[in-house]
Symmetry: C2
Subunit: 345 residues, 2 copies
Amino acid sequence: MVLSPEVRADRKVVFRLLAPQAESVALRTTDLPAPGGPQMSKGENGVWEVSVGPVEPGAYRYTFTVNGVQVLDPRNTLTSESNATVHSLVYVPGAEFMDANKVPHGAVASILYFSKSLDRNRRMHIYTPPGYEAGQEKYPVFYLLHGAGDCDDSWTTVGRAGLIMDNLIAAGKAKPMLVVMPAGHTSAGFGMRGPGGGPSRDEFAEDFVNDIMPHVESHYRVLADRPHRAMAGLSMGGGQTLGIGFSHLDKFGYLGIFSSGIFGNGTAAWEEQRQTMLDDASLKDGLKVLWFATGSEDFLIQSTKNTIGALQKRGFKPVCKETSGGHTWINWRNYLHEFAPMLFQ
Amino acid sequence: MVLSPEVRADRKVVFRLLAPQAESVALRTTDLPAPGGPQMSKGENGVWEVSVGPVEPGAYRYTFTVNGVQVLDPRNTLTSESNATVHSLVYVPGAEFMDANKVPHGAVASILYFSKSLDRNRRMHIYTPPGYEAGQEKYPVFYLLHGAGDCDDSWTTVGRAGLIMDNLIAAGKAKPMLVVMPAGHTSAGFGMRGPGGGPSRDEFAEDFVNDIMPHVESHYRVLADRPHRAMAGLSMGGGQTLGIGFSHLDKFGYLGIFSSGIFGNGTAAWEEQRQTMLDDASLKDGLKVLWFATGSEDFLIQSTKNTIGALQKRGFKPVCKETSGGHTWINWRNYLHEFAPMLFQ
């Protein structure tokens, strides 16, 4: 049996695919450096192979391209869904904050709820902290949104959200909380209906406010008030966090925007739509954290800066963290790890 | 963008794969009839296609074989893990008992627990019924085991266990209960360490009794006594149910064996290992249901019959249901649908 992927102790990862009849096999990955180039070499036994790294600890999505067809690794049961397809997933351990350590683990559940706004069943993922299932305590809720390329499964697979929360909670660095990860796309395909650039009806915002939040607050033991509600998202999800968060500023005490800003041309229309909330001085104090993080190589860094400028002019005090790197899951996992400890303190 | 799979209103399913450079593409599936043969035809646009059915409503795993390499459908995000690989999954609706209907839905969580028996983190899936997360009630527990080709994910993907339970509970046909779906394999690969045929140390039985059950009973609001514990499994999981169930008959009030029986050569050694429990007349009354179901075309039908004969000789009253069909998920979903309503009544 072919072993793939093989994660070695020196953090080199060897990918293998049995394909004796193939003419070309390449490794396709977003975040993994492939110093030898993505092309794989064929051995005498028909097994194509490439060794990558040593790589930084982390979760990496990959596929093979066999004669032009994108395929998953048939020897790996670990997968990660994105918006339009599914990837194989490899985890390279060694980063304590997201390793599966010997600490109490929460549960990540897949949930179906009926969305009245969209008139159909929708799926979301919900992390409950260690102790939830047997306890009686009420918990704060952190809504965590994915990006345009992803889906509600992504934060718990490639994003390691559950394990990051487990480790933070075990270390006493984050409060125990629910993390709700809804599906940000409302139609098939890549079509984004985000605030700013979307059509007149913002389907996700309706679903979020009228269905997702009420579902969570009626089906889970949660603290359903502003000081105990947080929202963050990456890229498209950052845009949704800004859009929904500032349209319902009375409902959220903590907002996090990862690799994102206000979408569309400038911020004027966005601000106009939310004028009342933006001008209401009484709401500003209750926004305990307004945190932006974007990599210096991220194509949305300027959008982040423009948004921060616009919010500062309105009297908000956003915190901006410019990190290294680009629009990658490497950064988003780090941002979650940094943002979650600020919540509900 | 290529649409695949396309499930048509007449329950025909069209599978498509964009592979302009491929020389052969075939559809590979276990339970789906492919009347035109598995080979797919290439259209002028480089899209290979095959139409199957009309097929019976149900969940079907499939892959494509492209120039000899087994690949998932890159246009389908639905997947189902098995023991050694992962499949694309298509659901053909129309069977009310397993459709995603407009009823209250439970949650299916993925859980990590630390197994002291095996000295590592292990994963299991747990279904909690509608109302669990906000409630205070204690529930009975049904342990549901997979087969040798599968893993702890399989019952909730291809097996539709969560949806089958949702529908039964909504109709008042089954009691609300937890369904715990552990990982029956303890080593990589297909290697089975089941009762009867395994090595002297039964790793899964140790993990089940010393780690899985205690974890569930300390982390969930459950009724932890014999009248509120059930176990069932298919194939290898049926063997494990027999092995663990009759070694701990004082702990289980309900046992279900799907497409299985005692493994190995005859039942003598198996019976000898469990002599005390089998001979203890006081334990027989508390076994409220002992239910076997196997298809007449199943290669384990004789094993089922031998096991039933052996248990009858020991004074048990097994109920045996011989159905049509073979060793398939079509039968296992039906068996779950029939078995769950008998529990905890």
